[in-house]
């Protein structure tokens, strides 16, 4: 074949290839849409034993643990993204991860947060988190922060203040532990749950967390506690307003007019507080702050 004849043939081939690729891409998009119902298979653990996986890893258990930890993160993130409330695989996946690498501290520390968070933001299984952290303490006795995590779960999620105080006290005996662990043990033991202690503990989590997601979670809790403080203070000012004028205020701006406030206060996200028809201070509907559940009344330790 002559060279002049070869050029048009090559061009035709190129065009056919481009058209073919474009067509197959279009077909793939159509297949993706039709495949969606078949892809929604339930999550499963093919090998549920960490011990078996450790042996199968042929000496690469560290890498396998990292892969499983990434699977935990992806599973947790995926369930949250898809607004699913079933976190049944979270516990077994975490157990496998720490079986593969008992020194992988992030799996204990962040895994317990995923387990503790109430539905729909987590598994709502604080007792599973306690067992996970206890495993971590057994494998890593020098890591005093695991005691802090254990105490925090007892304090915040289980409202079991004697157990929380004991965890902080046990953790404070570690030579590397921060001095506030001992103080925390005493404060919880005497006062039980209170907002100041909660604020301190969330601040500590915010300060020590390296991951942005965990920091953001702690920040949201701190914002919630701040909003609760603000609203409590505003309720006091409303009471003063009533004493002064003999009637309830219709809006917070009236408190400003009466000189009880310098301006209409805003929540930590920058949205102004409002008055409900019942006269209670509430958050703006635009604000995404989720108010914490109030802790039960303090449980003072009985003096012996």
């Amino acid at each position: 074949m002559s060279r002049a004849g070869a050029k048009p043939i090559a061009a035709v081939f190129a065009l056919v290839m481009i058209a073919g690729l474009a067509a197959s891409a279009g077909l793939q998009t159509a297949i993706d849409r039709r495949m969606a119902p078949y892809l929604g298979t339930p999550d499963e653990l093919w090998i549920p034993s960490g011990k078996v996986l450790k042996r199968l890893s042929l000496g690469n258990s560290g890498l396998m643990a990292d892969i499983y930890w990434t699977r935990v993160v992806q599973y947790y993130g995926g369930q949250i993204r898809d607004r699913k409330t079933d976190f049944s695989l979270l516990g077994p996946l975490l157990d496998i991860t720490v079986e593969l690498d008992p020194n992988l501290l992030v799996a204990y520390r962040f895994g317990s947060i995923f387990l503790c968070e109430a539905s729909p933001r987590g598994a709502g299984e604080p007792m599973q988190a306690v067992r996970l952290i206890e495993k971590g303490i057994q494998a890593n006795p020098d890591e005093w922060r695991l005691w802090h995590d254990l105490g925090f779960i007892y304090y915040w999620d289980l409202k079991n203040y004697p157990a929380a105080a004991q965890a902080y006290l046990d953790g404070s005996k570690n030579s590397h532990a921060d001095p506030w662990m001992k103080v925390m043990a005493a404060v919880i033991s005497q006062k039980g749950g209170n907002r100041e202690t909660s604020r301190f503990l969330w601040t500590e989590i915010y300060r020590s967390a390296e991951d942005t997601m965990i920091r953001q979670n702690a920040e949201e809790h701190l914002q919630s506690l701040q909003a609760m403080d603000d609203m409590e203070e505003l309720d006091k000012r409303i009471l003063l307003f009533r004493e002064k004028t003999g009637r309830p205020p219709q809006a917070l701006s009236e408190l400003v007019t009466e000189g009880l406030l310098k301006g209409v206060p805003i929540d930590p996200l920058g949205f102004p507080y409002r008055l409900s028809p019942g006269g209670k201070v509430v958050l703006s509907p635009k604000s995404s702050i989720r108010l914490e559940e109030e802790t039960p009344p303090p449980q003072p330790e009985k003096s012996s």
């Binding site: 000496g59 690469n60 258990s61 560290g62 890498l63 990292d66 992030v106 520390r109 962040f110 991951d211």
Partner: protein
């Protein structure tokens, strides 16, 4: 010196031959890409960016080193016989023992150079990620050294099998022995669980007879900055030297009696 120079010549020739092998370059390049991917892998997880980089890097060095040692090791003797280059070699003043030792050292030199290249990739990725090195990072070198010791043992096993078997069977035997070697502690534990004295004795015997590759698994610990005791480094070195010497002696004995006609 007179006795060692033929061994050295075989060693260097084996190294040169391995370096010319294109498969070798592909594996090294792939390992480097894998290590680089660890940086990206860390992005989809939480709090383990450095840990996963170290674990993935060390596992890559180990797995690719294992592949190189098996696939080059199985052909060490067979290729020379198959291509009939061994006859020309043995017609020169080279003893069969020198040939075997030279082949073993040559492949180990190749593995050491490859491991050094992969390690350089790992350290570069580590620096890219952390922008600095910390004192506990030094123990990564111990993990790399242990991988190298493990590879030396695999080479010795491979060479041993290649002295009397075909390349395919040598590869299968070596890989199976490697797998069994990582389970040897379980083998002994199994014997202890049976409460039967004969089983217990047999599994204990196998535990000491088979190479124990789990001795070299410190990657997970060093990825968390945990130190490795100096005593363990010394004992693992001596164990490798001792076990490899036994295998090498057996290989020399078999090869010395091999009918090359």
């Amino acid at each position: 010196m007179k006795n060692s120079s033929p061994t050295l010549a075989v060693t260097l020739n084996t190294f040169r031959e391995a370096v010319r092998d294109r498969v070798l370059y592909n594996l090294v390049a792939f390992a480097v890409i894998l290590i680089a991917s660890a940086v990206l892998f860390g992005e989809i997880s939480i709090g383990i960016q450095k840990t996963i980089l170290i674990n993935l890097g060390l596992s890559s060095i180990s797995v690719f080193g294992l592949l190189i040692s098996i696939f080059l090791g199985i052909g060490l003797v067979f290729k020379e016989v198959d291509k009939r280059s061994l006859y020309a070699l043995l017609s020169k003043p080279v003893r069969r023992s020198q040939f075997i030792i030279g082949k073993f050292l040559g492949l180990n030199l190749t593995l050491a150079v490859n491991t050094a290249l992969m390690s350089a990739g790992l350290w570069a990725a580590l620096y890219y990620l952390a922008r600095r090195f910390e004192a506990p990072d030094l123990f990564i070198w111990v993990a790399i050294y242990f991988i190298l010791l493990q590879l030396f043992l695999v080479t010795a096993i491979c060479l041993f099998f290649s002295c009397f078997s075909t390349p395919l069977l040598s590869a299968i035997f070596t890989f199976l022995l490697y797998v069994i070697g990582t389970f040897s502690a379980d083998l002994r534990a199994f014997g202890e669980m049976t409460q039967n004295a004969s089983w217990k004795a047999l599994t204990s015997f196998l535990y000491y007879l088979l190479p124990n590759f789990s001795d070299f698994s410190v990657a997970a610990a060093v990825s968390h900055g945990k130190p490795v005791a100096g005593g363990l480094i010394l004992l693992n070195t001596l164990y490798t030297l001792c076990y490899a010497a036994v295998l090498l002696a057996a290989s020399v004995a078999i090869f010395a009696r091999k009918d090359l006609k």
